[in-house]
């Protein structure tokens, strides 16, 4: 329910923009992003931590936004899929996903790309096995995963 008195002011940087937000402590980061900030690029498939569709970056680390309480985040920097491109220039992962056919319905794609970004930021030249391990919490029902691995490898290769 909308207006009520149990909300706190929360400071958060979302995609590089500092925000002061009024949120209830029981509002998950997923709800905050999708419903309060209308950043609907973050998807949801279970809201229970079981599918990875809601993955975002918090201070550069992949987190399941459906299980994050904004109150735990005060001062953090959140990156969603909307924050990946530099203006109209797509992030290399976004381009590679397009090129490799690493998306079909595209519903797992935002979470998948962000999980891959977290991996590459920490480990710019991962092995195939490391890619599979890093993305193993992100389910995709369309692609069979091979093209996603290809896309991540592609970016890793061109970066090195």
């Amino acid at each position: 329910m909308s207006a009520s008195d149990d909300r706190d002011v929360l400071r958060l940087s979302v995609n590089g923009v500092e925000q002061a937000l009024l949120v209830g402590p029981y509002t998950t980061l997923l709800e905050l992003l999708r419903e309060d900030l209308r950043l609907t690029g973050t998807k949801h498939g279970c809201e229970l931590g079981e599918c990875g569709a809601c993955t975002v970056l918090v201070d550069g680390v992949a987190q399941l936004s459906c299980l994050v309480l904004p109150a735990q985040l005060d001062g953090a920097a959140v990156t969603t899929i909307e924050g990946l491109a530099e203006g109209s220039v797509l992030h290399p992962l976004q381009r590679a996903f397009m090129r490799s056919g690493a998306l079909q319905c595209g519903y797992c794609t935002p979470g998948m790309i962000l999980a891959a970004k977290a991996l590459l930021d920490a480990n710019p030249a991962p092995s195939r096995e490391e890619i599979r391990q890093a993305l193993a919490g992100n389910l995709c029902r369309c692609t069979g995963y091979a093209s996603i691995i290809e896309a991540v490898e592609d970016v890793a290769r061109s970066a090195s």
Partner: protein, 340 residues
């Protein structure tokens, strides 16, 4: 979208303050660290709390330090990912690190803490369901109901101990430091648990796990084998933690802890006694297979899986035996490699 019920979130500035808040609010309050176990359960109405006392932000719970006896003291707020990515830890306590690495999925391990993991709720597929689903079956003893749906004759809940790191910590002989407004105490990890799916924690509800102490690992190695359907996301259907001690080529001591086959992790170290005196080489070269099979059989004997998890319970029991064999071999391999 599944949503959380309303609650107040308190953000103490220290563990001591958190302990005071827990004392003050009593049954209304629950602790939350990473929230990866608690929040899904709150969304499904399995757990209720008017107040959550947050621990995740407390820097004092995120320390990792060497203790005087050569062991390690790890703050309860350290995430599973931090454990997994610590190369020194992996050398000393491979079983514990392996167990942490096998918890759920990478993003979940970035949030989930080792303290929360020790306290992870017991599981049962009559219980880990939405409020509406549980209402449709008429609820059960663990929450909102009065009988056990898996074992209707049972006087207690038979939900399954599901922490991966608990058995690994127990096999290492680890202890935890508990803090409450009444004071501080250190107990073995094994003393945290009760063989009761509903009241599975032996500690008081307001006691906070501050840290876990892993004793020095000199001459020890360890391993953890997890049985589940998929290589990621899934909880254990059976888990086996083994620690072996050998200064030279001969095993001097062994510990075995099995999990997910009862409502608490079971220390079945007596079953490891025949291993004492075996050479690592003979164990690994297949000369002691019969002995190992015997060890595995007696270790798995107390396992009593029921039909409340994935796959068949008979298979889960069989797999516990296999898990013991594999975990012993892995620990022995690590010891042999170290001595070489």
């Amino acid at each position: 979208m599944l949503r959380l019920p309303r609650f107040r979130y308190l953000r103490p500035q220290s563990v001591a303050e958190a302990a005071d808040l827990m004392a003050e609010h009593g049954e209304q309050a629950m602790l939350v660290a990473g929230g990866t176990d608690l929040l899904p359960k709150m969304k499904r109405g399995q757990m209720e709390a008017e107040i959550l006392v947050g621990l995740g932000h407390l820097a004092e719970l995120r320390q990792l330090e060497r203790s005087d006896d050569g062991g390690l003291r790890i703050g309860a707020g350290v995430t599973l990912s931090q454990i997994v990515h610590d190369a020194a830890l992996a050398r000393l306590y491979p079983g514990y690190v392996r167990a942490a690495a096998l918890v759920s999925s990478p993003a979940l391990r970035n949030a989930g803490t080792i303290g929360g993991n020790l306290c992870v709720d017991t599981r049962c597929n009559f219980y880990d369901q939405s409020y509406e689903w549980r209402m449709a079956v008429g609820f059960c003893m663990k929450k909102d109901g009065d009988i056990c749906r898996v074992a209707p004759a049972s006087k207690r809940c038979r939900a399954i101990a599901s922490s991966d790191t608990a058995p690994a910590a127990m096999a290492l002989g680890a202890t935890v430091t508990l803090v409450s407004s009444a004071g501080r105490r250190e107990v073995p990890v094994s003393a945290l648990y009760e063989d009761d799916g509903q009241f599975y924690l032996a500690k008081a509800a307001d006691e906070i796990i501050e840290s876990i102490q892993l004793p020095a690992a000199t001459d020890w190695s360890s391993s953890y084998v997890k049985v589940r359907r998929r290589g990621s996301i899934d909880f254990p259907l059976a888990g086996v933690a083994v620690a072996l001690k050998a200064a030279g080529p001969v095993i001097e001591e062994g510990r075995i802890v099995i999990t997910a086959v009862a409502s608490r992790p079971l220390d079945v170290s007596e079953a490891a006694e025949p291993l004492v005196g075996c050479t690592l080489a003979s164990l690994l070269e297949g000369q002691r297979d019969e002995l190992l099979t015997g060890v595995a059989a007696s270790a798995a004997r107390p396992a009593k899986p029921l039909d409340n998890a994935d796959l068949h319970y008979v298979w889960r029991k069989q797999m516990t035996r296999r898990g013991v064999e594999q975990a012993v071999r892995e620990a022995a391999t690590a010891l042999l490699a170290r001595s070489a």
